[in-house]
């Protein structure tokens, strides 16, 4: 099966500091791929390259075989890449519904159509109750949902989730996991950066671990957990097996 997203030898530096070094991997259509690694490993930087905010210095990114690296965030969004932000970026002068409509307008021209799409997406994400609340008055968990809803409304092929589950209560995290599964069930591929291992490992089919800008390993959750270098990277030498 052809890969949906291909990352080929991607490298990116910021002012002399190498954020990503020679990263290559594929994302299969319909899978949930985890992007893990300690702080400073280069996860967000990689995200930014995929979503178009940043242009890689070396290498390329292909979506369904078409080059999208360096095209900018708008072109990437039109191509089918949607993302959430680690620190929620809601449109605070607008209501939840209006926020989601902005996403819907990516592919739809008429306000009526965008409203209908927003209704559907809000329902899917459990935000209908808060549809007319101002975005800035949402609880943190609701704001995360809004980020997802807004991104989903664009009708993406792949959804990039940036630490969506971090900092939530266990209940909220479980609801978040259910939402991610539901998104996958719709046929949308997911690439998620996550910090909280216990929550993300049961969710993903595969995971990539980054460390110091490079790919440490790619594998199933079971393999990752037992990988000595992964353990060392996260917990330090003392906890490494053997």
């Amino acid at each position: 099966m052809a890969a949906l997203l291909e990352i080929r030898n991607l490298s990116k530096s910021f002012g002399g500091v190498a954020a990503n070094v020679d990263i290559s991997f594929d994302v299969a259509p319909g899978e949930i791929l985890g992007l893990l690694g300690p702080n400073g490993a280069g996860k967000t930087s990689l995200f930014n390259s995929i979503s178009g905010e940043v242009t890689p210095d070396v290498g390329e990114i292909l979506l369904e075989g078409r080059r999208i690296s360096g095209l900018g965030p708008v072109a990437c969004a039109m191509a089918g890449i949607a993302r959430t932000f680690q620190v929620v970026r809601s449109f605070d002068s607008m209501s939840v519904r209006e926020n989601v409509m902005v996403g819907a307008f990516t592919r739809l021209g008429s306000t009526r159509a965008a409203m209908a799409q927003a209704d559907e997406t809000m329902e899917f994400c459990g935000l209908t109750r808060r549809a007319d609340a101002p975005a800035h008055m949402l609880s943190p968990a609701e704001k995360r949902r809004l980020e997802v809803a807004r991104a989903l409304a664009t009708g993406p092929k792949i959804l990039l989730l940036d630490e969506m589950l971090t900092g939530l209560t266990p209940t909220e995290a479980q609801e978040g996991v259910a939402l991610v599964r539901a998104v996958q069930a719709r046929g949308i591929t997911i690439l998620m950066v996550e910090h909280v291992m216990e929550v993300v490992l049961p969710l993903v089919s595969r995971a990539i671990v980054l460390n110091l800008g490079r790919v440490l390993t790619i594998g199933t959750p079971a393999e990752i957990v037992k990988h000595p270098e992964v353990i060392r990277a996260y917990l330090g030498d003392r906890y490494a097996a053997g």
Partner: protein, 326 residues
């Protein structure tokens, strides 16, 4: 489809309809030309400010040189009328087209300039136009252009002494600008501009591209302002660069919107209703001897509103769109 947004939109339309009816009957009890004149001017500036607001408020590009479109529109329509006898109703269309095109030409290079630089660039462009028109003797130069009176007719928008017809034409013009603003606000463009104003990075990540819609906003804003110029020319019967292409006029076009509430639907009307009578009255009673007190009042009002109520006077009447205090 029924939701908070559609309900609000419907309320706005109903309010507008009621207001329209009120305005239609408003001038009838007042027969003196001074009062009627005041009403006509108030509606004119409300309409001009509403047009300005499409670019300056909703789209966020503060233009301080908008008299460019007013003046060019007036010249286009008037010269067509004076030289070729073209009725001003068609002249208005020509004025809209030329002014709109001009707005695109100005916007194309200038939109990538940030706020202050953009404002100054609009002033400079307008000043260049002013100087050029002032020295262009073929179209009248500093002496301006007189609109010859061809007899009372609706076709030519000329009336001997009656002011009432002009009032209704102005009302129609204002209604046009209001509808344009209302339509744009609820459209995809309106959403994209607000998104960009709130968070440009998030907006871009959702595929919001702003340049094409900004160009459209500029064309509509400039075109409508040009129509205002065409109507004004028939109303006063004489145009010259000092009266229709000046810096102070540019400010006067923007000011009702700023006073009333930039980016709001009712702001320009509210601002005009407060500002224009105030200005005319203070000019008549305080400024006739050139005493400058009217300017001081005017300037103080601007400073106070800008500092105390930057959201504009409209915010005194509402608690915010979604039930939250502004």
């Amino acid at each position: 489809m029924q939701n908070a947004i559609t309900l609000r939109r419907r309320r706005e339309l109903i309010t507008a309809a009621i207001l329209l009816v009120l305005l239609i009957v408003l001038p009838l009890p007042f027969h003196d030309p001074y009062t009627r004149n005041l009403m006509i001017l108030t509606l004119l500036y409300a309409a001009l400010a509403q047009s300005w607001n499409i670019l300056g408020g909703t789209c966020g590009q503060i233009s301080l040189g908008h008299s460019l479109y007013f003046g060019v529109g007036a010249y286009v329509s008037t010269l067509l009328f004076v030289w070729h006898g073209v009725p001003p109703w068609f002249g208005m269309l020509a004025a809209a087209a030329v002014a709109g095109l001009l707005a695109l030409l100005v916007g194309w290079p200038c939109f990538r300039l940030s706020g202050h630089y953009y404002a100054i660039a609009t002033v400079v462009v307008q000043e260049i136009a002013y100087l050029l028109f002032l020295n262009w003797d073929y179209i009248g130069g500093a002496s301006g252009v007189y609109v010859p009176f061809h007899g009372q007719s609706w076709m030519n928008l000329q009336f001997r002494t009656a002011k009432l017809p002009y009032f209704y034409v102005m009302l129609g013009f204002f209604a046009l600008t209001w509808i344009a603003a209302w339509l744009i606000e609820g459209s995809r463009w309106g959403f994209s501009w607000r998104a960009v104003k709130d968070d440009v990075i998030a907006a871009r990540s959702l595929g919001v591209r702003v340049f094409p819609s900004k160009m459209a906003a500029a064309a509509i804003s400039g075109g409508l302002t040009g129509v205002g110029g065409a109507i004004f020319a028939q109303f006063v019967g004489y145009i010259d660069p000092d009266s229709i292409l000046s810096g102070p006029l540019s400010i006067l076009i923007a000011l009702p919107a700023v006073l009333g509430g930039v980016g709001t639907l009712w702001g320009p009307l509210l601002g005009a209703v407060v500002l224009i009578p105030l200005r005319e009255l203070s000019s008549t009673f305080l400024g006739s001897s050139g005493s400058g007190v009217d300017l001081m009042l005017y300037g103080a009002l601007i400073m106070v509103v800008a500092l105390m109520r930057p959201q504009g006077l409209v915010s005194l009447f509402q608690r915010g769109r979604n039930g939250s205090a502004s």
